[in-house]
């Protein structure tokens, strides 16, 4: 099963490689990993998507918690949460395809943020599945490149992952 793990991590060099190294050393899956500083300068927020059966995910969480640099960990998949991923996608937009691509962008509530004679860059935010669906919907052969941020997430309700 897919799990979204959200972590507060010491904002120190080496923290990222400790976490990445743990996954490779123990043979765990890692689908995506995003990391950026928070409002508290000594902390980074990391969102990690992994897959595995319950026993493996339990072990992943224990091993992550054991790392000295991991301050707090929450498995967002265990409760109500919001998941968002951003994608920038560059499309080949020659005259015959331009209208079709523009309609597609509107249907997905995406934005065209760069235009040339022969291309569009489209920005799209949403759950990962929505991004997958957009890629699927683009007519064959029109994708030049795909850049995805990997999912980030936050729990619903008034409680937060804080110190």
């Amino acid at each position: 099963m897919r799990h979204i793990l959200s972590m507060l991590v010491e904002n120190e060099s080496g923290a990222l490689s400790r976490i990445a190294g743990l996954f490779s050393a123990r043979g765990y899956n890692i689908e995506s990993l995003t990391v950026a500083p928070t409002d508290e300068p000594t902390l980074s927020r990391m969102t990690l998507v992994t897959t595995g059966n319950d026993d493996i995910v339990e072990q992943i969480k224990k091993q992550l918690n054991k790392l000295i640099d991991v301050v707090k960990l929450q498995d967002l998949s265990e409760g109500e949460h919001i998941e968002r991923e951003m994608m920038l996608i560059k499309l080949k937009a020659a005259r015959p395809d331009r209208e079709e691509l523009k309609r597609l962008t509107e249907i997905f509530r995406a934005k065209i943020i760069d235009v040339t004679d022969a291309s569009y860059v489209v920005e799209l935010t949403g759950a990962s599945k929505k991004l997958d669906a957009f890629i699927e919907a683009v007519p064959e052969g029109l994708i030049t490149e795909v850049v995805r941020s990997g999912p980030t997430g936050i729990s619903r309700g008034d409680k937060g992952l804080t110190l």
């Binding site: 010491e10 080496g14 224990k62 918690n65 707090k72």
Partner: protein
């Protein structure tokens, strides 16, 4: 310099190098095991000016780590190493990994090239923090002298608290610059917001565990190195006596419960006793304490304790249900959990099922009567088992015994019954050949008047043989008991069993003359090859209380370690000594 109070320290102006030495003094560190080199010369210069910390000059950085490790295992204190950058650090990696696998508290100070040249492939530069990351509890790169004291404090705190382990502190040379002095303050206490090891077990879980234990018909305690590391031996012994239950131990836990006691079944696992492994297979209630269900202990997981409800006590939550699912997990320090269990058992109403227990002991005694450790006692060549038994006889069980890795290690675990913890010192998790001799140096320094021996094989001993020079320099009267069979015995045994006796490169051709080798290092060398001369030779060796003695014992080259659980088998599927007939096993 006056080694005064913390308040006086706050007014001291120290360089980075001096801060390191002062911090070690403030930690109460007695010995540092190390080897100098370019990146640590400022630190060595600061060390030279102080005599509160004694430096032991090893002959290879691996020796420094094993010596610090042996010191830590014997005393329970943190072992400390100091090595230079590049090859100094990489040579230390084997010892760091050894300590990591067995959860040994250690602080390893490594020199690093100056901060301005980090990343430029400078002379003797390696990414020490990167290389050691997977085999440490934690590591640090200190980039500012202002961070040095607090980082060293953190390193010691992390190394010895919770589940202990090695911590590496990588220190660039410019951070130790003698011309830059800052006020020194060593924190008395330190708290880390991201690191809070469990202080006590959950009381509800502890009550539940005691209820399960009391309700058991065929209970077994299975204990590991965590009992030794967590100073839980006394509480464990009280618990086992209070319950009257059988107990078995892993290789790492030997001595936490007196091995000469009737309730002790011997070691379990791959080379465990018949009675211990059969009890594991038949038990209906297993309590694992400070043990981690290692593959050498469990055999094939699908066959592990098929009838048991399992209780697991460990300070490290990631140990729980890692390989074997447990029913009652208790996360907490072993000693405090055992004491809490004893408190629950103070109620006189809490009694085990006496009838069931009597029947269980009858069954165990039948298994025990198999005498699974039997060997040919009338042999004209020295059997390795006989050599260990003689070692026990000569030393009266009072020995600190370090070991290398292989058959001799297993024979020692089977035939030398330790009655106290921290007496049996070996590399269990990583299985590091070369561990024994330097580890013995650390133990001997910690206990200068105690008998310390290293049991080894002719293959293992050569991996850190250079440390005989260190033993000479510091006049360490270690006794090396070499079970010399001319083979890498355990490799040879596996090749005999699983590769149709094709002994690919397990025969150690061109061995040195160990007697003359020891003599050339300034020590006493002795050789014995007849069973009836062995005891006298050992008595003579241990009689030389102030000398390092290397006793080369020529043993049967083809002896195997039994019982043995082969790969993919369960506890009930042991290979027993060939002298045992099928009828006996029925």
């Amino acid at each position: 310099m006056d080694n005064g109070s913390k308040a006086e320290h706050s007014s001291m102006q120290l360089s980075g190098a001096e801060i390191i030495i002062q911090a070690l003094i403030d930690e109460g560190i007695e010995y540092v095991f190390g080897y100098p080199g370019g990146a640590v010369l400022h630190i060595y210069d600061a060390l030279f000016k102080r005599d509160e910390v004694k430096h032991i000059l090893v002959r290879h950085e691996q020796g420094a780590t094993h010596a610090a490790d042996g010191y830590a295992r014997a005393t329970g204190e943190v072992g400390v190493c100091l090595v230079t950058s590049g090859p100094g650090a990489t040579n230390a990696v084997t010892g760091i990994a050894t300590a990591h696998m067995d959860s040994i508290p250690m602080v390893v100070l490594t020199g690093q090239v100056p901060t301005p040249v980090i990343g430029s492939d400078a002379f003797q530069e390696v990414d020490t923090v990167g290389i050691t990351r997977p085999c440490v509890k934690h590591n640090f790169l200190v980039k500012r002298v202002e961070d040095l004291a607090a980082t060293i404090k953190k390193a010691f705190f992390i190394a010895k608290s919770g589940r202990p382990g090695p911590v590496v502190v990588d220190i660039p040379k410019d951070v130790t610059d003698p011309s830059i002095r800052i006020p020194y303050r060593y924190p008395a206490e330190i708290a880390l917001r991201s690191y809070n090891p469990a202080q006590r077990g959950h009381q509800g879980q502890i009550k539940k565990a005691v209820e399960k234990l009391l309700g058991a018909k065929r209970p077994v305690l299975y204990t590991g190195g965590g009992v030794v590391l967590g100073d839980g031996a006394a509480a464990l012994t009280r618990l086992v006596r209070r319950l009257g239950y059988p107990i078995t131990s892993t290789l790492m836990g030997l001595g936490a419960y007196p091995m000469t006691d009737k309730q002790f079944l011997g070691m379990l696992g791959m080379h465990g006793t018949y009675e211990a492994n059969m009890a594991m297979h038949e038990t209906d209630c297993l309590i694992a304490i400070g043990a981690r269900f290692d593959d050498r202990v469990t055999g094939k997981i699908e066959h592990f304790c098929p009838h048991a409800e399992i209780i697991h006590v460990d300070v490290d939550p990631s140990c729980i249900s890692k390989t074997v699912k447990v029913h009652v997990p208790i996360v907490g320090p072993v000693r405090s959990v055992l004491e809490d269990m004893l408190a629950v058992l103070e109620d006189p109403g809490t009694q085990p099922d006496r009838d069931a227990l009597a029947a269980w002991w009858q069954q165990i005694d039948r298994w025990r009567s198999m005498d699974c450790l039997r060997y040919e006692r009338t042999s004209q060549v020295i059997k390795p088992q006989f050599a260990v038994e003689t070692l026990y006889k000569v030393t009266g069980g009072e020995l600190f015994l370090t070991s290398d890795v292989g058959q001799h290690q297993m024979f020692a675990a089977q035939f030398y019954p330790f009655d106290k913890p921290r007496r049996w010192i070996n590399s269990g998790g990583l299985g590091t050949m070369g561990f024994g001799l330097p580890a013995a140096m650390g133990v001997q320094l910690a206990f200068p008047d105690a008998p310390v021996a290293c049991i080894s094989g002719e293959a293992s001993i050569l991996m850190c043989i250079q440390e005989m020079a260190t033993c000479k320099q510091y006049e360490l009267p270690v006794k090396v008991i070499l079970l010399n069979n001319g083979y890498m015995g355990m490799v040879r045994q596996w090749q005999e069993f699983f590769y149709e006796s094709r002994y690919a490169h397990s025969y150690v051709d061109a061995l040195p003359d160990f007697v003359r080798l020891a003599e050339s290092f300034g020590h006493v060398g002795m050789r014995v090859d007849k069973p009836d001369e062995l005891e006298a030779a050992m008595r003579e060796a241990f009689g030389m209380k102030d000398r390092f003695v290397f006793l080369d014992v020529i043993v049967d080259p083809t002896e195997n370690v039994y019982p043995m659980i082969c790969a993919g088998k369960g506890h009930h599927e042991m290979e027993l000594p060939p002298t045992m007939s099928e009828r006996e096993l029925a």
